[in-house]
Symmetry: C2
Subunit: 285 residues, 2 copies
Amino acid sequence: VRTLVARGDDVQVISREVPRIRAPGATFHSLDLITDRDATRELVCELQPERLLHLAWTTSPGEYWTSMDNLDWVGASLSLFRAFTEAGGRRAVMAGSCAEYDWSREVLDEVDTPTHPATLYGTAKHSLRLVVEAAARNSGVSLCWGRLFFLYGPEEAPGRLVSSVLDALRLGEVAPVSEGRQERDFLHVDDAAVAFVELLDASVVGPVNVGSGVGVSVREVVATLADLVGRPDLVRYGTRPTPASEPDRLVADVRRLHATTNFRPEFDLRSGLIDTLTRTPAPHV
Amino acid sequence: VRTLVARGDDVQVISREVPRIRAPGATFHSLDLITDRDATRELVCELQPERLLHLAWTTSPGEYWTSMDNLDWVGASLSLFRAFTEAGGRRAVMAGSCAEYDWSREVLDEVDTPTHPATLYGTAKHSLRLVVEAAARNSGVSLCWGRLFFLYGPEEAPGRLVSSVLDALRLGEVAPVSEGRQERDFLHVDDAAVAFVELLDASVVGPVNVGSGVGVSVREVVATLADLVGRPDLVRYGTRPTPASEPDRLVADVRRLHATTNFRPEFDLRSGLIDTLTRTPAPHV
């Protein structure tokens, strides 16, 4: 939102919650896409947006993989997309997920890696894409589907990797983690935001991975964080199990993202974690 | 509905329209699954149905292949399914379509034929199945997905093959049809209804073709109908184009249906068309 406002776009934001971000210049509409479907449709009809960036979904850590809320989000997203096309919308970018892919592959790309989601969350995202892509083709809307990988950054929900380790270390508590040998494609949330704005400006249609293109082990994330906080002594590797279903390596092939946009991540792991640390308030003891 | 009532089931019907069928013993609820979502959820929560048979969808001839209503039906179906599982439902059967398959194959089966829908309608059905199957696995509901092929019978909507040819012939008007060499799997609507009731009783999960297993050419359907009405002279083969995208042959592999239920069609083409003719009121001249 800040990026779009900064360059002078007329930004209309639909959000359930009172916005926590400071973005003077953007107009906020407090609506729940699931329960306020009629009001959402009326608003979209009135605003006649040219472009749509749809990121909303259920993302409660530990729950969203299997939550029945995934069903409502498919429906709400389809309803929003229909309203957008009927209001004359031209370009839509929606948030997909690396969870749509077959995770027996290590480097995931949009063309050759099969979509074979193992979870309800991944299945819901995958299925939504199939329907909106078909609807977009029929209605002449340009649709891009940005597949997010593993995000971190300031204002992360409690219970996620970086937020939970950071909180423990700053409280002087032991941080139990897994062996952490598994490699993931981590991206700072601000970089992900910029990538989505770039995709909104681009003309590429279909799925595009939004990642760093670099595999980093969970252990390296934790070790860097512990080093920055100055408490490597508190980390206990191997005291949490690594689920057998966790793949060893999941990295985004970012050739399509690089070929179709000017996006390059601003942060590497270390600078991204420094930024996270700086912008995250210390926990109350 | 008649079949279920006849055997003593407690049948609760949700329908938009005032029911045209006579089914004393069934309770009708006039609700629109798309616009009356909250009321539907409350009703399902109150009724606590053990079993769900979900057939509703947009089916306007000529329009449903590309209609944006397909998006709403995905959402409404997911919403209904969630309400059903949360009300303690055990067994659900939903209507899928042969349009989910790759139509470059001639005999379509549930295991070996790829799902590759060419239309928004087929994509919506396919995507809905993926999500409800994943949700059913998570919530312990037994879900079966009956894939319908080509239906005909009394009370058919105007504009479909049998209804339009029958109306023309009975009015003494010329009936323009295509060459009609393409073969399809036709099933009388009463047989399809019985098959769905059988699937509701069965324990089979996943997709099951609901068809006759026999390929019949469109020309044979029209010729039989013209013979029964006594006006073969009015049929003009080849005066309507056969779209290039129309496949030559689409027939259901019904081995799974036969292996998991006692269903066998009551009607063959001739007896099914006689029944249709008998039960269809003559058009007003």
